[in-house]
């Protein structure tokens, strides 16, 4: 009988190590208390009806001791747990990007080169994989027990998380947030492959249109290019080279243009208005599907050169000159 799933990712053994420590602490204290109460119950079993207990003086010292020791232990657990947590959540530099759309009751996974998979994911071992996930409807959760990886996919936002597989194999993929009737059927497999096998898999099977190419089509369909087309006097900021760069906002803040920023600016344009531009962009909330939003983000990303690992973010784009007042009355 197995007690642990396979350890197939870089952080799996750290999670299991932490778990073992916690099992030991749990077992120790449970046995300690269990043994003590049983032992006391037996040792001090009432012998006669009129028996009187012995007077035991309360002890402030004892109270402090058994407060401080658990406090110390819990702090050890907290820090260890936090360090494993940082290991899990700190994003890697370069990673293989996979775009996931969750919908009742299936997983759609897209590689940037256009490979599309349904309820299955083929990835190479030894390379970080970053999942950018969106939900078309309700909250889902992408869970791969063998990787000790789980992340809720919440509608209305992108959920980004990563893992790195270490062992080739076929691993369960489960939806772990109750999402309706066929929640238990929203399952599949993650195939971790050696780099050679992965290349072979990529080569076989005709990929469809790349994500970025689909995004380019949507960009035109939704008339985004009429304002963001880089033409002189364009009403909207240029998107070329935007991804990964710092942007100065009208509020005075400076943020980095990542996937979430781009998505938000499509559905809620006034939330992070770029400095020097009027608030005239209409909202596309409800007008573009989550999958469509992923494609547009991939398209915008493709307009920037891929960042070298460890490169610093380039200097912020200077805000355009202020005569860009509202061009409409």
């Amino acid at each position: 009988m197995h007690f642990f799933p396979e350890e197939a990712s870089t952080f799996a053994r750290h999670v299991d190590g932490l778990y073992l420590f916690l099992i030991l602490v749990t077992a120790f204290f449970s046995l300690l208390i269990g043994t003590l109460v049983v032992a006391f119950a037996i040792r001090f079993h009432r012998k006669s009806e009129n028996e009187v207990a012995q007077d035991v003086h309360e002890s402030g010292v004892l109270e402090i001791v058994w407060t401080v020791i658990p406090f110390g232990l819990t702090m050890v657990m907290f820090f260890w747990g936090a360090s494993v947590y940082f290991r899990i959540t700190r994003p890697p530099g370069t990673a293989l990007d996979i775009y996931v759309t969750a919908k009742q009751w299936m997983w759609k996974l897209q590689h940037t080169d256009g490979h599309r998979e349904m309820n299955e994911l083929h990835i190479p071992i030894g390379q970080p994989v970053r999942l950018t996930m969106a939900s078309e409807d309700v909250i889902h959760s992408f869970y791969v027990p063998a990787f000790r990886f789980k992340r809720d996919v919440v509608p209305g936002r992108f959920s980004v998380a990563w893992f790195e597989a270490t062992k080739p194999g076929k691993y369960h993929l489960f939806c772990a947030e109750y999402c309706g009737t066929r929640h238990s059927n929203m399952i599949g497999w993650v195939y971790a492959m050696t780099p050679a096998d992965y290349q072979a898999w990529l080569a076989g099977g005709a990929p469809g249109e790349t994500l970025a190419a689909s995004g380019a089509k949507r960009f035109v369909e939704n008339a985004c290019n009429t304002c963001h087309g880089d033409q002189p006097g364009a009403r909207g900021p240029s998107l070329t080279g935007l991804f990964g760069r710092r942007v100065q906002l009208a509020s005075g803040q400076t943020i980095v243009a990542d996937e979430s920023y781009i998505r938000e600016s499509i559905v809620n344009p006034q939330a992070k208005l770029v400095a020097g531009y009027p608030p005239i962009m209409p909202t596309f909330q409800g007008l573009i599907s989550e999958e469509g939003l992923l494609q547009l983000v991939a398209y915008v990303k493709s307009l920037s050169p891929a960042p070298a690992a460890g490169a610093a973010a380039p200097a912020p784009v200077p805000a355009p000159t202020p005569e860009r007042k509202a061009s409409r009355p």
Partner: protein, 545 residues
């Protein structure tokens, strides 16, 4: 403290709250807190049976990996019914409604609670809420899970979400009014001489519970109202399609529902404090620390709700804050466990059934609580969140903890409540059956959860079957264990031996009244002097049951 002969004919029994008046009206319009407690006992037992039936159906389905007993949607409705019935109509009202109502006035030397008519209203609200939720179940059920996550519950579910939400909302007001009543009663109606530090620890526990009921329940009330409004009027408060945030729902929901689990455990701990001291016949070790821990738990419980949302997309920093606070809230519980253990040391320990339940509680609550620390540990929770590991953890606390304490308390105070003794042999048998059945049901769930079996799954991969079969076997045993007391408590009301005023030789004002007590509790208001749990100061006689 008098000893009565074995059985007295009904016609010659002294007037007590049970025989003071007969007839359905005298019960349904009562304002006597003791009768209201009995009304609650009937209500919670009924809803427990419904929730238990749902549990049996769940375990039946999970015997085999395929979803071959029920259709998926039906199964989803069954686990939702199990959660809703158990949480809102058994666990939350249970110990406060039954034992709290019966005992608090007696323990503090009062004639009744501060607002007796409000108390009766509480019961009616509870019943109306429960029947409303039951109506929803009968007419097709709701399939959102007891947690009602949006936008599934507000936009996509086809079940009776609004009706169920209304039922819970109404029952929530019952909980608020009960808490309000207990707070005011304990503040203003203690007998002369009963200072705060002479009050039984049961009352301290109920006081801390009442704080949570008052501050937490209104938040779930408004959240459910908003869910209902969103569903009925297509508002977009939690719907991302209209700019709403599903995670905001989670924050509002868990802001109540985490403290709610302390509404479920604090009364249980309150009972254990009484049982441990009575059956060691020794003052409780660390009275002030146990009292203080109860208040600390009530306060800290409001600061940890985010530990239900570590994978929802909260910031890393929010995760850190909620994690460290969740560790802190465990410390007062640990303090209590150590103090109870120390109370047994050099005591005069008697193995009656209430003590068996108390010992079972201490062991199972310790183990279950430690698994809670595992969940507070950020790195680990990511893997086990939304799996059977979580299910196992909370059942260890709620069933291994609260229900055992409830049964222990019911057995301990049964002579006072009914004037009868339950059969000791069968009560010990059922305590063991429950203990064994419980562990067999829920321990395998820790294992299958870590292996990756998600919760709320109708069908599962084959490799999880062996552990599920063990769990179902345990559940059958546990079910039998619960049936036995149901039978003999009923039996004892007619055929049980009459109880003395103080069959356990325990301290406490409730034991200085006849069994069962008269309607007004105390003909003369008692005057209290001396320490609580005064077992060792020159007591030369001990009543024999």
């Amino acid at each position: 403290m008098s000893t009565l002969p074995q059985t007295i004919p009904e016609s010659r029994r002294p007037k007590n709250y049970l025989n003071a008046a007969y007839g359905v009206r005298s019960w349904l319009l009562t304002i006597d807190h003791k009768r209201i407690a009995i009304l609650y006992l009937i209500g919670v037992t009924f809803f427990f049976a419904l929730g238990g039936l749902a549990a049996a159906l769940i375990r039946l389905e999970l015997l085999t990996p395929a979803g071959d007993v029920f259709q998926a949607e039906t199964y989803n409705k069954i686990f939702t019914t199990h959660g809703v019935m158990m949480v809102f109509f058994f666990m939350i009202p249970g110990i406060p409604g039954v034992l709290g109502n019966f005992l608090i006035p007696l323990m503090i030397g009062a004639k009744d609670v501060a607002f007796p008519r409000l108390n009766l209203l509480s019961w009616y609200l509870y019943i109306i809420g429960g029947l409303t939720a039951l109506w929803a179940v009968i007419h097709g059920g709701v399939d959102t899970g007891w947690t009602f996550y949006t936008p599934y519950s507000t936009v996509y579910s086809n079940g009776w979400v609004v009706v169920t939400a209304v039922g819970i909302f109404i029952a929530g007001f019952s909980s608020i009014l009960t808490g309000l009543n207990f707070l005011v009663t304990i503040h203003t109606m203690r007998a002369p001489g009963m200072t705060w530090l002479r009050m039984p620890l049961f009352c301290w526990g109920m006081y801390a519970t009442a704080i949570i009921q008052i501050l937490g329940t209104p938040v779930i009330a408004i959240t459910l109202l908003l869910v209902g409004a969103e569903r009925l009027f297509h508002l977009g408060i939690f719907d991302p399609a209209q700019g709403g945030d599903p995670v905001l729902f989670q924050h509002l929901f868990w802001f109540y529902s985490h403290p709610a689990v302390y509404i479920m455990i604090l009364p249980a701990m309150a009972v254990i404090s009484e049982l441990v001291t009575a059956f060691s016949r020794k003052p409780i070790f660390g009275y002030k620390f146990i009292a203080g821990s109860s208040i600390a738990i009530a306060v800290l419980s409001f600061l940890v709700w985010g530990h239900h949302m570590f994978v929802s997309g909260q910031s890393v920093y929010a995760g850190l804050v909620f994690s460290i606070l969740s560790f802190l809230v465990a410390i007062p519980s640990a303090i209590k466990v150590f103090n109870w253990t120390a109370t047994l040391y050099k005591g005069s320990v008697s193995y009656q059934t209430p003590l068996l339940y108390a010992l079972g509680f201490i062991g199972l609550f310790t183990f279950g609580g430690l698994t809670g620390l595992m969940l507070a540990t950020l790195g680990l929770d990511i893997h086990v969140h939304d799996t059977y590991f979580i299910v196992a953890h909370f059942h260890y606390i709620m069933v291994g903890g609260t229900i055992m304490a409830y049964l222990g308390g019911l057995h301990y105070w049964w002579p006072k409540i009914s004037g009868k003794l339950y059969p000791e042999y069968w009560s010990r048998v059922s305590a063991w059956v429950i203990f064994i059945g419980f562990n067999l049901t829920f321990f395998p769930q820790f294992i299958v959860g870590y292996l990756g079996m998600p919760r709320r799954y109708h069908a599962y991969p084959e490799e999880f079957q062996v552990l599920n079969v063990m769990s179902t076997a345990g559940a059958s045993i546990l079910g039998i264990g619960y049936l036995i007391p149901a039978v003999y408590f009923f039996w004892s009301m007619r055929y049980g031996k009459d109880a003395a005023d103080n069959p356990w030789g325990a301290t406490g004002l409730e034991w200085e009244t006849p069994s069962p007590p008269p309607t007004e509790n105390f003909p003369e208001t008692p005057i209290v002097s001396g320490k609580p749990y005064d077992y060792l100061t020159g007591r030369d006689e001990v009543a024999v049951g």
